[in-house]
């Protein structure tokens, strides 16, 4: 019977549609579960008074949760830490990844060496993230940080300044972790640029550098944003490798200050992922902690969603501006 169905029915449509439906169901139930688990956390059930007053209190509780410091049960340091490490990572990984992709696609000559490099880049994407953490500790923190201390912060030794885990090393480790994603996605974007556009540009007397600057990079800019979106999504939730290089469960001070240089790159940070791990598994009072864990997870998802939405809108604008294509992709 199955065989008959497979031959005369329309098996692929059903299998494909089934796979789509299952995926949607899983993603949907994840979101619904998160919301259901955390929506009621801050509802003041015991508070006397009517619904309006309760609602005000409810929103105020959320507000305190989102903006309060960790000693007051808030997650603001974690949100700030996550945003900072991801933004700094983006600033580091985008130019590096784009330049590498341009070199690989536009300048490097096809041959065995280039194939080896490509395979290496792809393999880098498959390295377990914890390995990057260990590498970050050994290379960035001890070697790079130690060298910086020796060169510029001699006076304060033996207390390390950069030779100890901190925000800069977190972002650098994340940048290394997401570098292959950015390279591969950007290269795909470069490969998608019609050849006759390049030829048209050469035909007007442009040098190779001008072709890349005036045609190739603008044309590939939406692909770069896509690459960055993938990188952000991967980086924002990382915890394990970052334990080595500067993410801790609570910080005495925020890495931002009102005085120059405003951003304290050497300071340790905390992140939402870390907070979720810590509150969920290291907490004394599991009963009380569990809803807060879900609330934090919801905040993390929302944060990634907002970052992606920003990138998506940017990509749409770049598409319109440089490719005259109203539809993305």
């Amino acid at each position: 019977m199955l065989r008959n169905w497979f031959r005369h029915g329309n098996p692929w449509i059903w299998l494909n549609a089934g796979a789509v439906a299952l995926s949607l169901l899983l993603v949907g139930s994840l979101l619904v579960f998160m919301v259901v688990q955390s929506i009621g956390v801050f509802w003041p059930a015991e508070m006397p008074g009517h619904v309006g007053a309760k609602l005000v209190q409810y929103l105020s509780n959320w507000w305190h949760f989102l903006t309060g410091s960790s000693s007051h049960g808030g997650i603001f340091p974690a949100i700030l830490g996550t945003v900072l490490m991801v933004l700094l990572m983006s600033v580091l990984v985008t130019p590096l990844g784009v330049l590498a992709a341009v070199y690989l696609h536009e300048y490097a000559k096809e041959g065995p060496l280039l194939r080896v490099i490509r395979v290496a880049v792809h393999n880098l994407a498959g390295v377990p993230s914890i390995v990057f953490g260990v590498f970050g500790l050994g290379f960035f923190v001890y070697f790079l940080g130690g060298s910086i201390d020796n060169l510029f912060y001699r006076d304060s030794l033996p207390t390390p300044t950069f030779g100890t885990p901190g925000l800069l090393w977190v972002s650098l480790t994340l940048a290394l972790l997401t570098l292959p994603v950015v390279i591969v996605a950007t290269e795909q974007g470069l490969a998608g640029i019609p050849k006759n556009l390049r030829l048209g540009c050469f035909a007007l007397g442009a040098t190779k550098a001008e072709v890349i600057w005036k045609i190739v990079l603008p044309q590939a800019s939406p692909a770069m944003v896509t690459a960055l979106m993938l990188a952000i999504a991967r980086a924002a939730g990382e915890v394990a490798p970052l334990l080595f290089v500067g993410v801790v469960k609570s910080v005495p001070a925020l890495p931002l200050s009102s005085e120059f240089p405003y951003l304290q790159l050497q300071q340790k940070i905390t992140s939402l992922g870390m907070h979720i791990y810590d509150a969920g598994l290291q907490s004394q009072d599991a009963q009380r902690a569990e809803p807060l864990v879900f609330a934090s997870a919801l905040v993390l998802i929302t944060l990634i969603f907002i970052l992606n939405l920003t990138a998506y809108r940017l990509r749409k604008r770049l598409n319109l501006r440089y490719r005259n294509r109203p539809v993305s992709e």
Binding site: N196, F202, L204, G205, A206, K214, Y322
Partner: protein
Amino acid sequence: MTAEVTAKLEVQDLSLKFADKTVLQHVNLRIPQHKITAFIGPSGCGKSSLLRSFNRMNELLEDTVTTGKVLLDGQNIYHSAVEVAELRRRVGIVFQKPNPFPHSVYENVAFGLRLQGIKQTRQLDELVESALRKAALWEEVRDRLHESAVNLSGGQQQRLVIARAIAIEPEVLLLDEPASALDPISTLKIEELMYDLKQHYTLVIVTHNMQQAARVSDYTAFLNMGQLIEFDETNKMFTDPSQRATEDYITGRFG
């Protein structure tokens, strides 16, 4: 060719290989100045490759080996001291398929000018208008200069690409089957345009269309299997070809 016509381009013993495939063999040819020269021949005969060798476009396409010389005003363009970008500014090319940049009409024409370092808006405005007028496109696009070039019709796009090419005042304009993707009316416009352009430029056109070659060109070269079979004035070539192969091709007996 009569002696008083000056040669803008002179091809001397030019051979061309793509990877291991021989595309052109020992071609010798003189392209007269301010005339239209047409290259005809069956598909794969090497006429487009010969055209692209005039501004060294071949080397962008594949692994190519070029031997021999192409002289532009007596200077060998394959000499190692030649700056390719500067050469391509002097020898423009228009391809079969219109390839406007996905920018506005104005920016397409201004593109090459900006590459030349022209930045003043007034000057750009004037040069863009004059190029569009020469390409017989100005009247159709004057009100939509800042709309996307991609929205123009195929024929308009091709004339825009020609405007883009002549905006930087090249000395030679190479046209690689410029009308083969267009409808008859657009084709006619392109042909009229070529006729106007030859006052100022030396034009070389590759075409599959015999009538087109006969209509627009002053000289015609017939190529087959990578070799130049015959080169003469178009009138002579189409009425009294000296080679049997040329006659067969023109009358449609092969190719």
